[in-house]
C-alpha cells in the first residue's frame, strides 16, 4: 500500500490524492482556457483576439 497523505483532515492514499489534485487542476485549466480562448465576453474577446488568431487552431469569428 502506498503511503497516505493527510489532506483537509482526510487520510487518502497518495495516488488517489494525486488524481484528485490533478483532476481539480485540469478542471481549473479547462475553465481558464475556455474563458481565454473561447468565451465571447467583449472585454475578454477584444483583449485576446490577436492571441487567439496567433495560435492558428483556435476559432474566432
Amino acid at each position: 500500500m502506498e503511503r497516505t497523505a493527510a489532506w483537509l483532515g482526510v487520510a487518502l492514499p497518495e495516488q488517489v490524492l494525486f488524481l484528485l489534485k490533478s483532476g481539480v487542476f485540469l478542471c481549473a485549466s479547462g475553465v481558464i482556457l475556455y474563458v481565454a480562448l473561447a468565451s465571447s465576453y467583449p472585454t475578454i474577446h477584444d483583449t485576446l483576439h490577436n492571441f487567439r488568431h496567433a495560435l492558428a487552431v483556435v476559432p474566432c469569428h
Binding site: 503511503r3 487542476f25 485549466s29 473561447a38 495560435l55 492558428a56
Partner: protein
Amino acid sequence: MSLKSLAVLLGFHVSFFFGSPSWADDINIYLKASPRLELLHPYSDPATLTLLVTGADGKPVAQGRVAIGLEAPEPGWFFSTDFPLVEGSRLLDMSLPLRQGRAEWKYLFPIRGPYRLNVEFIAPDGRKVNKTFPLAIRERRQKWFFLGIFTLGLFVLGVFAGRIFTGALSNAKRRAAACLLVSMSCASWSIAVAAQGVGQGKHFGWLEIDHATVGRPSKVRWRLAGEEKAESRDVLLTLTIAHLEKAKTVFSVERLPVEGEFGMNFQFADGAEYRVTAIAYVTGGQMIRTEQNISVTGVEPPARSMIPAIGFFLAVIAVGLAVGRWSRRAAPS
C-alpha cells in the same frame, strides 16, 4: 424502337463523343498567381490571380467570359482554422469578361488549406468549357511556432504541477500549489445600407450590398444610374473591398469593362468593418466614385470547433502532470 428514335439517339451519341469534347479540348485555361501560391498565407497579402484562355492555335481567345467560383477548404479532421464558419463555404461567384483572353482580379485568402477555383469559359456562341484549379494556401510558420511555444508552456506547467502534487504537501508546496492556479490565470492575461452615390455630372454610381454575415456570401452590386440608358453605357469599373482593421485589400478588379452594371456574390470572411469602393470611368471622361462602409456581422464559432483545441491543450497539461509525477518519483528529493 422506331427509326426516328434510333436516329435521335445516334445523333446524341455522335455529338456527345465527337462534338463538344473536340471543341473543349481545343480550349485551354491557365491560371497564374502572383506572388506564387507557395508564398501566400492567410490574411497576408492579396494574390493577383490571372486566367488566360487560349484556343487551338495557342493564341488568346478574342471574346468570351469566364464564370468564376471559389470554394473554401473543407474543415480539417481535427483542428479548426481561425474562421471555422468559412470552411467549406463559397467565397466568390462572379463573371468577368475576357480582355485579350485574360481576366484578372486580386483576392486575399482568409484561411489555410486547399481551395477550389472553378472556372467556366463561356464563348460568345454559348459553348462552355470547365476547369477546376486546386489552390493550396499554407499557414504562416510564425503561427505554428507560436502554437508550439504555447503548447510547450502548458506542458511545463503540467510538469511543475505534477511534481508539486506528488507526495505529501509541505507548507511551502501547499503555497506553491495555490500560487500555480493564480499564476495560470495571470499568464493567460499577459499574453497578450444605405447606398451612397457621389454624383459628378450626368451619371452617378449606385452600390448595393446585402446584409453581410460571416459564413455566407452576400450580393455586391454596382450599377450606373442617371441619364437614360445609363444601364447600357460602357464603363471601366474598378471595384475594391478593403478590410479596415487590417488595412488590407481583400478583393479588387481593375478597369473591368462592364455595361452599366456589375454584380457578384462575395463572402466577407471576418466579422469586421469593410469599405467597398467603386470607381467607374464612363466613356466621355467622367469618373464616378461610389463608396460604402459596411459592418459585417460576426458569428460565434460553434462549440464543436473549440473542443479539439481545448481538448488538445488539456491533454498536453495532463501529459505534463504524468511526466512531472514520473520525474519526481524517479529522483525523489
